[in-house]
């Protein structure tokens, strides 16, 4: 194959696949390549043998673990979708929802003063919550009412506060909230992973709390949803969207050479075992252009814990998010725990998977995860990996090389969709506007009507 394309995409991680799908729908001719023989790159879900060969190559996978190999779909990057978040929006508008089924995550928990409790998401839950004393509950209720009623155009709802000039800490203090309460609002609802936000203006925190509250309101149990068979379904779904709109897929295809324009200033194509493919633009994950990315300075440790029981004190829930706010255990960044089970088809019946992650702060990162391990109880096995986070040096407009960022340790996809929209804007020269794609029935009609 020696062909011309509008865009070449390297790596089938979520960011790359969403962009591939969106650009194909826009009519771009896309060639999408991955050096590995499976979809998903860093955002894949691995089966048991893939998992062990990646994390414990020297040891055999334990034969006491049940189920077939493919009954295990273990995410490399633990995240959940916010029900009302931007990725959900993109899924709905592109109709990729028809390839993937979603279920709720059954609960959202936070660690406070030595124990864990459900995160209250509205005034009624706040009143019932075991997280606060009676007076604090009332203050929390008033705070949540303020958030819910706040309207930019009605000064009467502002209570004398200005979201664009007051800091979040000032807003908290206006309601007299305790530090522990600030902790769970800022970390378990606004989902900040450190305390920098306290001294910044309140608006972004307000927006994050709104996203949380609206996401819970959508389906009820928690703000999160999760695809059956693991997050690896997401890149596959968008790859399929791209393929349906004419995108070509080549897995298991290493890049032998990157081609540049004559003066060497611009991307021109790639050489692979299948031949030469040319395009003026490439979108790639950081691993394809190591000389064009830099370390963000953050390193993440992730531990996949295989268990045969639910997490204690969570009502035997089949799935949940548990956040340990940094303050509670004397750290600078939070520890996140994502718990899943056979209800999401990611482990065989009877098993539970808890993925623990945090930003590394010391020289013995695995010790940093101890507080989380204590909450989990006995583990059948634990696989750990450390990831360095990268971001592009340039914005790609000069050389046509547009690179995505590494997946950060946040618990959801909002920063990933920011990166997607940002790259889309740089590549297309216009912001992403989501239009509803025709659904199946309309597609049929369109097909019936073909001359």
């Amino acid at each position: 194959m020696d062909e011309e394309y509008d865009v070449i995409v390297l790596g089938t991680g979520l960011t790359e696949c969403v962009l591939s799908g969106l650009l194909s729908v826009e009519g771009k001719k896309v060639l999408h390549i991955d050096r590995q023989n499976f979809y998903g790159g860093e955002s894949a879900s691995l089966n048991l043998s893939q998992l062990y060969s990646k994390f414990k190559p020297s040891s055999q996978k334990p034969d006491n673990l049940g189920g077939r190999d493919r009954d295990w779909c273990v995410d490399l990057i633990p995240k959940f979708l916010m029900s009302n978040g931007e990725l959900t929006n993109i899924l709905v508008h592109t109709n990729v929802t028809r390839y993937i089924e979603f279920k709720q995550i059954a609960g959202s928990y936070v660690y406070r003063s030595g124990r864990i409790a459900k995160v209250p998401s509205n005034e009624i839950e706040a009143i019932k919550s075991s997280l606060m004393g009676i007076f604090e509950k009332r203050r929390m209720k008033r705070f949540l009412e303020f958030i819910a009623k706040y309207n930019d155009d009605e000064a009467s709802t502002h209570q004398g506060l200005n979201l664009d000039s007051n800091t979040m800490n000032e807003v908290y203090n206006h309601f007299g909230l305790e530090t522990g309460t600030k902790d769970f609002i800022g970390h378990a609802m606004a989902l900040w992973s450190n305390d920098d936000y306290l001294n910044e203006v309140a608006r972004p925190t307000y927006e994050r709390i709104m996203l949380y509250v609206q996401s819970v309101a959508k389906y009820g149990k928690s703000p999160y949803i999760y695809p059956l068979y693991g997050l690896g379904e997401l890149p596959q779904g968008f790859a399929r969207l791209s393929a349906i709109y004419g995108g070509t897929y080549m897995l298991d295809t290493p890049i032998d050479e990157v081609l540049y324009s004559e003066d060497g200033s611009k991307f021109a194509g790639v050489k692979t075992k299948e031949g030469t493919a040319r395009a003026p633009i490439v979108i790639a994950d950081p691993t394809y252009f190591p000389e064009k990315v830099k370390k963000t300075g953050q390193r993440v440790i992730r531990a996949m814990c295989i268990m045969d029981h639910p997490v204690a004190n969570t009502n035997e829930l089949d799935s949940l998010q548990l956040i340990i706010p940094q303050n509670q255990i004397g750290r600078k960044s939070d520890i996140y725990i994502a718990v899943l089970s056979d209800q999401h088809m990611v482990v065989p019946k009877g098993y539970y998977l808890a993925i623990v992650s945090t930003i590394i702060e010391t020289d013995s990162p695995h010790v940093e995860l101890e507080p989380a391990f204590k909450l989990l109880g006995t583990r059948l096995d634990t696989l750990m990996g450390i990831a360095e986070l990268y971001e592009p040096v340039d914005d790609g407009t000069a050389d046509g090389i547009y690179l995505s960022k590494s997946y950060d340790p946040t618990s959801h996809f909002e920063s990933t969709t920011d990166d997607i929209k940002d790259i889309y804007f740089r590549v297309m020269g216009k912001p992403l506007v989501l239009k509803k794609r025709a659904d199946g029935e309309e597609e049929e009609e369109a097909l019936n009507g073909l001359e």
Partner: protein, 216 residues
């Protein structure tokens, strides 16, 4: 007053070498249409078609490969919970028959074990006129016996079809439909029902089946 039986949804995947006529077979089945120089289907690689067999109505959800098979890059998602598969080859192209063997093997590895597979030798119209005539100048390169014996070996349904003349096309889908085990007993269906609780419908409101059936 009894309500009609709800249609059983059946995910059916298409597999086969490029240009053997996969999309054309679907177009014939879904729209009873054929296009001579068909461009690869864009934007419509997921079609549904109802098919009534006896007292059972099956709603086929048909997954066309949309070009992902060109470099053997189909995603596991494609096979996931597929209850039926058409493995298509072109009876005038021997290479496409070799490829069909490969796809059957792949299905046995990747798909659920009780998947119903039909082996389909397409473009029968190209050999129709010279059937029974001289072997030498026939366009046919894969004999009906070769197809039958592969099907027997692997326990597949077997048909020769023409998307162009519509010969045998409906029979393929009816044949599959009659062989598909009743919904509750299949592996795929079991997996589906065990997790159906707590599902969310992201598109919102589409799943209000009850309302369709409301008599008032």
């Amino acid at each position: 007053m009894s309500l009609p039986n709800p249609a059983t949804p059946v995910k059916l995947v298409l597999l086969g070498e490029a240009a053997v006529g996969k999309s054309s077979l679907v177009l014939r089945f879904v729209s009873n249409d054929f296009q001579e120089n068909k461009e690869p289907t864009i934007g419509a690689a997921f079609l549904t078609q109802k098919c009534t067999i006896g007292d059972r109505t099956i709603k086929y959800e048909i997954w066309d490969t949309a070009g992902q098979e060109r470099f053997a890059s189909l995603a596991p998602m494609y096979y996931r919970n597929a209850q039926a598969a058409l493995v298509v080859y072109d009876i005038t192209k021997p290479a496409s028959f070799i490829k069909a063997r490969h796809w059957v093997k792949e299905l046995h590895e990747q798909a659920s074990k009780d998947i119903t597979i039909a082996l389909v030798g397409n473009k029968y119209d190209l050999v129709e006129s010279d059937e029974g005539g001289e072997e030498e100048d026939s366009l046919r390169k894969v004999s009906i016996e070769e197809g039958k014996s592969l099907a027997a070996e692997e326990n597949l349904l077997f048909f020769e079809t023409s998307a162009k003349t519509s010969y045998n096309v409906n029979d393929v889908f009816i044949g599959i439909g009659s062989k598909i085990p009743s919904a509750s007993s299949t592996e795929a269906a079991n997996q589906q029902s065990h997790v159906s609780e707590g599902r969310v419908d992201l598109s919102g409101g589409v799943n209000n089946r009850g309302q369709d059936a409301c008599p008032c």
